[in-house]
C-alpha cells in the first residue's frame, strides 16, 4: 500500500520532470536570448530595474505564504491525530489586522515604485531623457502600413523601409502614426512599447548605449502579415551615422505621398526586404496623418471564395 503510494508520487513527479530539464539549457546562446535581461539603453534598464524590485517584493510575500499553506495542509491533515482541532475558531482580530496590513503596506510600497518607475520611462513625461546626451536630438518619423515599417528622417530628407539606423548615445525622438490599423513600436533591448495609431501621432523617446544590431517588431496584432512585421535596428557610431545618411541621400529610389500610397498597399514582407529612399519631404508624415484623418483607407482584400 505504501509502496503503491510512493510509486504513484514518483510517477506524478516524473510528469513535471520535463520542466526541470529546461533549467539545464544554460548555454550561452540560449541565455543571450532573454533580451529583457540585457538592456542596452536607460529606458530598458529602468524597466529591468523595476521588474527585479517588483518580483523581489512579491516573492517576499508569496513564498512564505505558500510555505505556510503547505505546512498547514500537511500538519493539520485528518490522519494526523496529534494536531489540534478547533472547528469553531474562525475569527481573530490580530490575524485580520495582519492579513490586511501586509497587502496594504506592500501595495503602498509598490505604488511608490510604480509612480517613480512610470516617470522614468513614460515618453509623455516631458522631462524624459532631457539633457541625457550631449549629442543633438535626432528626429525620426515612423509610419506603419499593412505590414511594413517606414522610417523617415525629416531633417535629413531620407527614409528607410523595414530598417532603422540610429547613432549611439543620442536621444532619438520618434513621432509615429499608422496608415492602417494599430501597431506597437517595440525594440526589446532599447525601450518599452508604445502604440502606433492611425490618424493620430504618438511619440517615443529613447537612447541606445551600445553599438550593435537589435530586433524591432510590432507587438500589436494588425492582420495577416503581422508575423513578418519586423525591422532591423542598427545602432552605429555618430560618424558612421553621418556617412550612412549621406549614402542614403544618393539612393535612386524616392518617396513622396503618391509613392507612399503604392508602398502602403497590403504587403507581407516575407523576405524581410529593406529599402532606402532619398528626396523625402519632411511633410510626408503630416500628409499621411492628414490623409487617414480625411478617410483614406488601404483596404484589406476579401479572401478568395472557399478560403477557411
Amino acid at each position: 500500500m505504501i509502496r503503491n503510494r510512493i510509486g504513484l508520487r514518483a510517477r506524478r513527479a516524473a510528469l513535471l520532470l520535463p520542466v526541470m530539464l529546461l533549467t539545464g539549457c544554460s548555454s550561452h546562446k540560449l541565455a543571450n536570448q532573454f533580451v529583457l535581461f540585457r538592456p542596452s539603453g536607460p529606458l530598458s534598464g529602468a524597466d529591468l530595474h523595476f521588474t527585479i524590485l517588483d518580483v523581489g517584493v512579491m516573492l517576499g510575500i508569496i513564498i512564505p505564504t505558500a510555505i505556510i499553506t503547505i505546512y498547514f495542509l500537511l500538519h493539520y491533515r485528518k490522519t494526523n491525530t496529534t494536531a489540534a482541532y478547533d472547528p469553531h475558531w474562525s475569527h481573530s482580530n490580530v490575524i485580520e489586522l495582519i492579513v490586511w496590513a501586509i497587502p496594504l503596506l506592500t501595495v503602498m510600497m509598490l505604488g511608490y515604485y510604480s509612480y517613480k518607475g512610470t516617470a522614468a520611462v513614460d515618453p509623455y513625461n516631458p522631462g524624459l531623457l532631457k539633457a541625457a546626451s550631449k549629442q543633438p536630438v535626432l528626429d525620426v518619423d515612423v509610419v506603419t502600413t499593412d505590414w511594413q515599417w517606414l522610417f523617415i528622417y525629416p531633417k535629413q530628407h531620407i527614409a528607410t523601409a523595414n530598417q532603422l539606423v540610429i547613432p549611439v548615445g543620442t536621444v532619438v525622438h520618434f513621432h509615429m502614426t499608422s496608415a492602417t490599423v494599430v501597431n506597437d513600436f517595440y525594440i526589446p533591448r532599447l525601450a518599452g512599447m508604445i502604440d502606433i495609431m492611425p490618424g493620430m501621432r504618438t511619440k517615443q523617446v529613447l537612447m541606445a548605449d551600445k553599438i550593435g544590431h537589435y530586433q524591432g517588431l510590432s507587438a500589436n496584432f494588425s492582420g495577416a502579415g503581422f508575423s513578418w512585421m519586423r525591422f532591423k535596428t542598427e545602432v552605429v557610431s555618430a560618424s558612421q551615422f553621418n556617412d550612412w545618411t549621406k549614402e542614403v541621400a544618393r539612393s535612386p529610389l524616392h518617396m513622396n505621398y503618391a509613392q507612399f500610397n503604392v508602398f502602403a498597399r497590403p504587403t507581407k514582407n516575407v523576405q524581410g526586404k529593406t529599402f532606402e529612399y532619398s528626396q523625402v519631404s519632411d511633410r510626408l508624415f503630416h500628409q499621411v496623418i492628414k490623409g487617414v484623418m480625411m478617410g483614406r483607407v488601404y483596404t484589406t482584400p476579401l479572401p478568395p471564395p472557399g478560403a477557411a
Binding site: L15, V55, I68, R77, S92, S227, G295, P303
Partner: protein, 693 residues
C-alpha cells in the same frame, strides 16, 4: 446600407457557394461534427426519448436542469476551445524559424495566417464567453436557490430564456466554422482592425452578434440571480447567515448587471460602423478608435472579476468542508468580495498602458490595479487560516481548490508585475501576459472543476470516480505547468502574442515543452471522459445520502441526493451560519416530517426555446445581411414575447401526498436501493404534469 466587398443578393444576402470553406482541416471538423450529431440524433430516436427530451429538458424552467444544460454547453465549447489551442500550439511549433517547413499552402507551419488568426480569435471568444461564463452561470443557477432554501429562481421563464440565448450565441460560432469564416481580429476585436475596411468578411459579424446575443442572456440571468438572492431567502436566512458562495454570486452578478450593457454599447456602435457606415471607431472622419478600447475594457475588466469571484466562492465552500472547520473571517471574506467587485470598476486602463495616456493617468490606474491585490491577498490568508487547526482531507474537490489557490499565488505575482507600467511597457502583448491571464483563468477552471466534482453527487445522486478524478487532476496540472511556465520564460525573450510564424529559432525548446504540455492536457481529457463514463456506469453501486461528503455545512446538503424538482419538501428554517453544522451539533440532522403541504411550482414552457430559435435566425440574417430574414425573425420575436405576456396560467400545484411519495422513494434510494433510467423531473424524482406555452 454600407457598401461591402463581395457579392450580395436580396434573397441570400452575402451568402453564396463561396461561403463554404474548401479546407481539409475544416472538412475534417465537419465530418467529425456531422458523425457525432447524427449518432446523437439516432440514439435519441432509437431509445424513443424525444418526448422525454422535450418535456424534461427542452421546455423546462427548473433551475437545476437549466444549470446542467448551461454546464453541458460550456463543456462542449471548452472542448472546441481546447482543440483551437492544440492547433495554435502546433502551428507555433511547426512554424518556428526561417527554415521551418510549410504544409497545406502555408509558408511556415500548416495554417495560413488568416486561418491561424481565426483560430486564436475563436479560442479566446469561446473560452471566456462560451465555456467559462456558461459553466459558472450554470453552477450558480443550480446551487444558489438550494443554498438559500428556495424552490427555484425568482424568474424561471427568464432563466430558460437566458440559457437558450447563450446557446444561440454558441451555435453561431459553431456555424461560422462551416459557413463563412470567423473574426481574425482577436476576441477583443480592436478597432479599426474590425472595421469593414480591414475586416471585410462576415467573420467579425459572426463574432459581434454571437457575443451580443449571449450577453443579453447573461444580463437577464444576472438580474434574475440578484432578485433571487434578495427576495427568496428562506425564513431565518439573514444576510449574516448567507453561505459565502451565494455572497460571491451576488457580488459577481452585480458586476455583470452593470458591466454587460457597456459591452452592448461598444459592440452596438461597432455594428453601426459596419452596417450603417458611421464613423464611431474608424481612424478617419472623426472616429476615435481609442474609445472602443476604453468601452470594451470598461466591460472587459469587470468581466474577468465576474468569472473569478464565483471561483473564489467555490473555493470558500470546498476548503471549509474538507477541513471540517468554519471559514476563517467570514465577514472580511464578504467585504473583500465586494471590495474586489467595486475596485474592478476603476482599473480598465491597465489593458492599454501603452496607449500613451501619460505618466499621471497610468500611475493612477496602476495603483488602483494593485489595490485589487489587497482583498485578494486577504482571501488567500483567510483560506490558509481555515485549514489551520482543521482536519484536512484531500478528496478531488479539495485538490482542485488547493490547485486554484496556488495558481492564484502565481497569477497574482505576475499580475502585480503587469500592474506596474515600467514592467508593462516591456511585456505588453507578449506571451508573458498570455501566461499571466491563463494562470488567472486556471484559478477559474480549477474552481469550476472542483465545484463540479463537489456538487455532482448532490445533483445526480452518485459520486464521480475518485481514482480517475485524481488522475484527471494530476495530468491537467502537469499540462498547465508545462504549457505556461515556458511561456513566462519566452515572454522575457521578447516573444509577442498572436504570431503564426516565429522568426526566433531559439524559441524551439520552449515550443516543444508547450506542445508536450498540451499533450498532457489531451491525456487529462481522456481521464475526464473515462471518469464520467465509469461513474455513470457504476452509479447504482455507490448512491450517496443527503450529505454526500459527510462534512457538508450549508443548506443544500439537507436535500435528498439527487435533488427532487421542488428542492425542499418543507421550506427549511435557518438558525445559524453553516446551518447543517448547527443541526448536527443540536442532534437535529434527521428531521422527520409529519405533514407535507401542497407545493406551487412553475409550469414548463416552450417559449424560451422558440425565442431562441427565432434569435438564431435573426443572428444568422444579421451576419449575412439577409434583410428579409432579420426583419421577419425580429418581428416574430416581439410577437412571441407579447403573446406569452398574456398567458396567466404559469403555475401548477403538486399535492402534498405526491410530495410525500417522492420523498419516500428518494429516502429509500439513498439507503442503497436501485434507481433506474435517465434522470427526470428535477434531476431526480418524477414530475407528473405537462407543459404549456
Amino acid at each position: 446600407m454600407v457598401h461591402v466587398q463581395g457579392p450580395w443578393s436580396p434573397l441570400l444576402g452575402r451568402l453564396s457557394m463561396g461561403a463554404i470553406p474548401d479546407n481539409p482541416i475544416i472538412t475534417g471538423a465537419f465530418i467529425f461534427a456531422a458523425i457525432f450529431g447524427v449518432l446523437a440524433l439516432a440514439y435519441v430516436t432509437y431509445a424513443r426519448k424525444w418526448v422525454y427530451l422535450w418535456r424534461e429538458w427542452l421546455t423546462t424552467v427548473d433551475h437545476k436542469k437549466i444549470g446542467v444544460m448551461y454546464i453541458l454547453i460550456g463543456l462542449v465549447m471548452l472542448f472546441r476551445g481546447f482543440i483551437d489551442a492544440l492547433m495554435m500550439r502546433t502551428q507555433q511549433l511547426l512554424g518556428d524559424g526561417l527554415h521551418s517547413a510549410g504544409y497545406l499552402g502555408a509558408t511556415h507551419g500548416y495554417l495560413v495566417p488568416y486561418h491561424f488568426d481565426q483560430v486564436y480569435s475563436a479560442h479566446g471568444t469561446i473560452m471566456i464567453l462560451f465555456a467559462a461564463t456558461p459553466i459558472l452561470v450554470g453552477i450558480m443557477n443550480i446551487i444558489v436557490p438550494l443554498q438559500i432554501g428556495a424552490r427555484d429562481m425568482a424568474f424561471p421563464y427568464l432563466n430558460a430564456l437566458g440559457l437558450w440565448l447563450t446557446t444561440v450565441g454558441a451555435a453561431l460560432i459553431m456555424l461560422s466554422l462551416f459557413l463563412g469564416d470567423f473574426s481574425h481580429a482577436g476576441w477583443i476585436g480592436l478597432t479599426p482592425l474590425t472595421e469593414l475596411a480591414y475586416s471585410p468578411g462576415v467573420g467579425t459579424d459572426y463574432w459581434m452578434w454571437s457575443i451580443q446575443i449571449a450577453s443579453v442572456g447573461t444580463t437577464l440571468g444576472a438580474a434574475n440571480l440578484i432578485a433571487t438572492i434578495i427576495k427568496m431567502r428562506a425564513p431565518g436566512m439573514t444576510w449574516s447567515r448567507l453561505p459565502i458562495f451565494t455572497w460571491t454570486a451576488l457580488s459577481t452578478n452585480i458586476i455583470a448587471l452593470t458591466s454587460f450593457p457597456v459591452l452592448a454599447v461598444a459592440l452596438g456602435l461597432l455594428g453601426a460602423d459596419r452596417y450603417f457606415g458611421t464613423h464611431f471607431f474608424t481612424a478617419g472622419m472623426g472616429g476615435n478608435l481609442m474609445l472602443y478600447s476604453n468601452l470594451f475594457w470598461i466591460w472587459g475588466h469587470p468581466e474577468v472579476y465576474f468569472v473569478i469571484l464565483p471561483a473564489f466562492g467555490m473555493m470558500s465552500e470546498i476548503i471549509p468542508t474538507f477541513s471540517e472547520k468554519a471559514l476563517f473571517g467570514y465577514i472580511t471574506m464578504v467585504a473583500a468580495s465586494f471590495a474586489i467587485a467595486g475596485v474592478s470598476w476603476a482599473v480598465w486602463l491597465h489593458h492599454f498602458f501603452t496607449m500613451g495616456a501619460g505618466p499621471d493617468v497610468n500611475t493612477f490606474f496602476s495603483i488602483a490595479t494593485m489595490m485589487v491585490g489587497i482583498p485578494t491577498g486577504v482571501k488567500v490568508f483567510n483560506w490558509a487560516f481555515t485549514i489551520y487547526r482543521g482536519r484536512s482531507r484531500f478528496d478531488t474537490p479539495m485538490m482542485w481548490a488547493l490547485g486554484a489557490l496556488f495558481m492564484l499565488l502565481l497569477g497574482g505575482l505576475t499580475g502585480m508585475m503587469l500592474a506596474m507600467p515600467p514592467i508593462n511597457y516591456s511585456v505588453h502583448n507578449s506571451v508573458f501576459v498570455v501566461a499571466h491571464f491563463h494562470t488567472m483563468l486556471m484559478v477559474v477552471v480549477y474552481g469550476i472543476l472542483g465545484a463540479v466534482s463537489y456538487w455532482f453527487p448532490k445533483v445526480f445522486g452518485f459520486k464521480l470516480n475518485e481514482r480517475l478524478g485524481k488522475r484527471f487532476f494530476w495530468y491537467f496540472t502537469a499540462g498547465t505547468v508545462l504549457v505556461f511556465i515556458p511561456m513566462y520564460a519566452s515572454g522575457f525573450m521578447g516573444m509577442t502574442r498572436r504570431l503564426d510564424y516565429l522568426s526566433n529559432p531559439h524559441l524551439f525548446p520552449f515550443e516543444v515543452a508547450e506542445e508536450l504540455g498540451i499533450g498532457l492536457y489531451l491525456v487529462s481529457v481522456y481521464y475526464f471522459v473515462a471518469q464520467l463514463f465509469v461513474s455513470v456506469r457504476d452509479r447504482n453501486k455507490y448512491p450517496v445520502g443527503a450529505d454526500a461528503w459527510g462534512t457538508g455545512r450549508t443548506l443544500e446538503w439537507i436535500t435528498p441526493s439527487p435533488v427532487p424538482f421542488y428542492n425542499f419538501a418543507v421550506t427549511p428554517r435557518t438558525h445559524a451560519r453553516d446551518e447543517l453544522v448547527w443541526r448536527r451539533e443540536q442532534g437535529l440532522e434527521h428531521v422527520s416530517v409529519k405533514h407535507y403541504e401542497d407545493i406551487l411550482m412553475p409550469k414548463n414552457t416552450a417559449v424560451p426555446l422558440i425565442i431562441g430559435a427565432l434569435t438564431l435566425a435573426l443572428g444568422f440574417g444579421l451576419v449575412w445581411r439577409i434583410w428579409w430574414l432579420t426583419d421577419l425573425s425580429f418581428a416574430a420575436i416581439i410577437v412571441t414575447v407579447i403573446l406569452r405576456s398574456f398567458v396567466k396560467d404559469t403555475d401548477y400545484t403538486v399535492g402534498g401526498k405526491e410530495v410525500a411519495g417522492i420523498e419516500k422513494g428518494l429516502q429509500a434510494r439513498m439507503k442503497g436501493a436501485q434507481a433506474s433510467g435517465l434522470p427526470s423531473g428535477g434531476v431526480g424524482g418524477l414530475r407528473p404534469q405537462e407543459s404549456n406555452s
